[in-house]
Subunit: 253 residues, 4 copies
């Protein structure tokens, strides 16, 4: 049953989506009609309500991808579709201790926090006050604030942690922090880096080869959606052409 | 420290990779020289040894992708690079109860078991005796057998579970089992299906639209590796052209 | 020197593009200022003028891709970037006699007319009066009307020509016309078909395998543009995800 | 009718392909049986013969793509599938005068020679004696030697021609020759460059922006073949991941 305080994803058959945090007495106004929060409270997930204009809205629990698309943000974010790939390549799992450097709005810290589970820990570094405050707010909203230790700090001087299982770097000049990343990782620990341009990939690779890292890989992913029409199945007309280049490496000693 | 019984991934600078389960007294023969298991035991992860021919091998913990590429298999498998995407789209997380139908060699059950964590559960269905036995063996090898309840069973008659958070279907004719999948899912629960051909996508979509499912999506992913050479950065010459079509849908009531 | 009657492509440094047919005394109004046709006449190609608002516009000869993007159209068109591939795969060359069935706005007939040269011939079939009239107008505008024999005709009853070198089919139900296409082609002649959906590809293939065709191939092309910035080289953010599926086959006797 | 001296493409139903130049009395040995040239002479194109082992071989005229895949080569070549795109983007047409610099085995000169037709001309530059000799041989084989003026020459000192319609550059350090290319082109003439790496694209762009060029574009194309099976339509398993980056620009004065 849906209760006050829940965040609920409202989805129409036409594909309109709204993420609402329920509070008794409030109303929510959309371009397809108005909804009273009270009408939603007490309904089951998977059920539906109608807007004031008679449009049916299904009541769903937001997934992590929904959360990220709907979060408050001030930054360019890791493309949600890439997150699954990164978590897999970094082999992040229950109980892991991991670092997220360059937190931004907090999407990647959130994904890492889910992957390390209740016994794991995410050490998150952000040097800008405004992003720091935004990330704090987002973490609370998602209920993952206890697993994430967020630090307002430049990473030039290195990380506080040692022997972390994985380290994710999403900053404009990652090549300046690779030695620090090496120091924080455990033997065999995995490093992941995202950058938008080929020039940045080149800079990162130049430095990576001078440090004790192996299994150096560079990937990009093209995610292609199809129009889900059984009699006229075909890719959509336009797609995201580029999310990011992803660089991975493993520390040796 | 590496100890007897550990599974260790040996990686050369040239990219040769061997996954070995350590047992005192054994030796392991490769095309780049021989290794004594006893030499590895007691070394730290991230360290290295040399083969009889003087080739350096780094000692790493296998990640889930390594496990899957190196497992015993008799089936076509979900491409490991797609697994992260599927887990993300199905929003599988700590404590979830999920179904994996069409277990095959067990790769997807393994990934799901990691994602649901120690408090979650994977109900896995496989109708062929040989795959069933193979999956049991693989699950034990990966140490996830306690989280996976594997059943030797055809799914035509439906699933035993109700209100599962997510259900993954990897069988040749998934359109025959969509009503059963709907019944097993909770309201708002997520369904994921992989098929290799466009004809199968069409068949699945035809049936999906007649059932209470929304958010019907079809995706394919192109994963493109680059040659990680800083002065001559470019995509590799050949890549995997197609892994699978992935179909997602959400149950409403 | 540019003269009256020329079609000139005006290109700004910001990427604005206008295709203008010059006529003395006329003026051309754009969102970046007004231009007098008389100012352009007498200038060299590659030179530039300024609009009334001081924006520089370079004077270029439109290429075939420019012509197609700027033509009057009422139809979905073959994506210009695919045209080069199709001409190559059909091996259309100087002096060839080819058929274009399903002319639409005439873009493909135009491309074929250029490829067959002054000694070649394009037999073009269109059954809708409105497209027929539009194509006539476009052919004249492009100056290729003499090489194209355009017929207002349904192709169910077959084609008038025999022994053509290549035949291109761009109609909604191409599988209905494959026997007719076979009859019109020479031994070893090449057939090309474009369709937007996977279902249509399947229908075409079913029929193709029952006719004396070999070298049956299906292709799709992804054209990915990059932001041409030397210090931040990367693909653009969004791209065309799908133009068409292209099917090719060669007649045997 | 096929006659002595013709180059004939022999294609089996299984996809084996052999390009043979017919000479009376000769025999051709393949892994699927032997063929006597005399059996082919006098047969019609599109017809078939059988090898000594009873395998049917269809008799086809080789297209330009077949010629290129089957030519004698000593160099990395422009991927034939990209050639159509390049010809289109350079807008090469009947009667054009164009330059091909960095001829290699001659594939691109051949394609340009076909596009400019009997009234056009290709000026081809190659500085290595071995490639020069190879290209001469290939041009003769393809019957295009009269339209191509091949020069054994380094292009550092520039090109002999002026006012050419298009110029294609396929050399390892194209950024060194852009000023020379500009000089040879007509106002509004089009420049095309292929390079395999992102670093080379960056170098070219740096120089291009300092010269009077507009419409600077960078493209890469992914050509994806499908298994042409109507009941199991899907992309093939593996594909070419990267052919080349293509850079285009237009000269202004």
């Amino acid at each position: 049953m849906i209760k006050e305080g829940d965040r609920v994803l409202l989805v129409s058959e036409e594909g309109d989506e709204f993420l609402v945090k329920l509070q008794k007495g409030l109303k929510y106004v959309t371009h397809i009609g108005t909804i009273m929060h009270d009408e939603i409270i007490g309904k089951p997930y998977g059920g539906s309500i109608e807007t004031s204009r008679g449009i049916r809205l299904f009541l769903l629990q937001p997934g992590i991808v929904d959360d990220i698309y709907n979060m408050k943000r001030r930054t360019q974010i890791v493309y949600p579709k890439d997150i699954g790939f990164i978590i897999l390549m970094l082999d992040v799992k229950e109980g892991d201790r991991v670092i997220d450097a360059g937190v931004g709005s907090g999407a990647m810290s959130y994904a890492l926090a889910r992957a390390v589970g209740v016994n794991g820990k995410v050490y998150a570094y952000e040097r800008r006050q405004d992003f720091y405050s935004l990330a704090i707010k987002n973490f609370k909203n998602w209920g993952v604030e206890e697993r994430i230790e967020l630090k307002l700090r430049d990473i030039s001087d290195g990380f506080d942690e040692r022997n972390v299982d994985a380290l994710f770097l999403d900053v404009p000049t990652p090549w300046e922090y690779l030695a620090q990343a090496w120091q924080a990782l455990k033997g065999g620990g995995r490093l992941g880096i995202v950058v938008p341009t080929t020039n940045q990939v080149q800079e990162v690779l130049k430095v990576l080869y001078d440090l004790p890292f192996i299994r150096i890989e560079v990937w990009e992913n093209l995610f292609r959606p199809y129009k889900p029409v059984p009699d006229r199945l075909r890719p959509v007309d336009r797609m995201v052409a580029h999310t990011a280049f992803m660089i991975f490496a493993t520390k040796f000693c």
